[in-house]
Symmetry: C2
Subunit: 148 residues, 2 copies
Amino acid sequence: MFTPKPIGFVRSPYTKTSEVPKGMGAKHDAEGTLEIAEEFELGLTDIEGFSHLFVIWAFDRSEGFELIGPTPMDHKEHGVFATRSPFRPNPIALTVVELVRRDKGTLHVRGVDMLDGTAILDIKPYLSSIPEEKLRRGWIAEAEAAKR
Amino acid sequence: MFTPKPIGFVRSPYTKTSEVPKGMGAKHDAEGTLEIAEEFELGLTDIEGFSHLFVIWAFDRSEGFELIGPTPMDHKEHGVFATRSPFRPNPIALTVVELVRRDKGTLHVRGVDMLDGTAILDIKPYLSSIPEEKLRRGWIAEAEAAKR
């Protein structure tokens, strides 16, 4: 196995997890930047053509993991692999952001849900979407329906 | 930083990278299984309600990285963060699969593009899609248009 290393860090308006919108109907439209280290900047070549990016980052302020636990969405217990809980066997997070603009090694993005200073592990282009009619969202759809 | 550990392994029809469909118009409909280790099986609770999953896995048979390089799609050079190249600063891969059925710790899925025996790092529910009209696919859309 490899040893993860940051390719850069997130600048975000959030400094505490309690500030990040969570649970039912949480909106993720906060703007922030992905500050990619100069040594990796060449790897951003042509990224400005993509509207959305996958950002893979480290839950670097969560400790340990819980295989099953309650969520802020419905307060019921669900398996960790059926949630976005930060307490995972590998503390790896995934966020889709909208790329607003690139300025050398700085990507201005919308939709950050990371804490300020979070280590970025990877960025990939977001390429395709599953058509709405083919998507089933399990317990999350149920939780949403129950709140209506 | 954390030390990645496999939560399970992929069973796939592919044993060599040359067998995995790549480049323009590559179809990813191969079926395979995600075999989650017994110690992590509880974490799969409620996963069967989701139609699609993100699988985060390790490029465990690629060595080193290239910040810029040619792709099988258009043979032009692009930055590694604008491609799905396996030669990344952190050898982390992301695949969206369709969940066909769960059998205890075994997830039967469609859309595998991993090699047989690949280490799985994480599984997350696929929750939402970017509407087609909001998606820009950069050099990939250009490469597709050029081939028409």
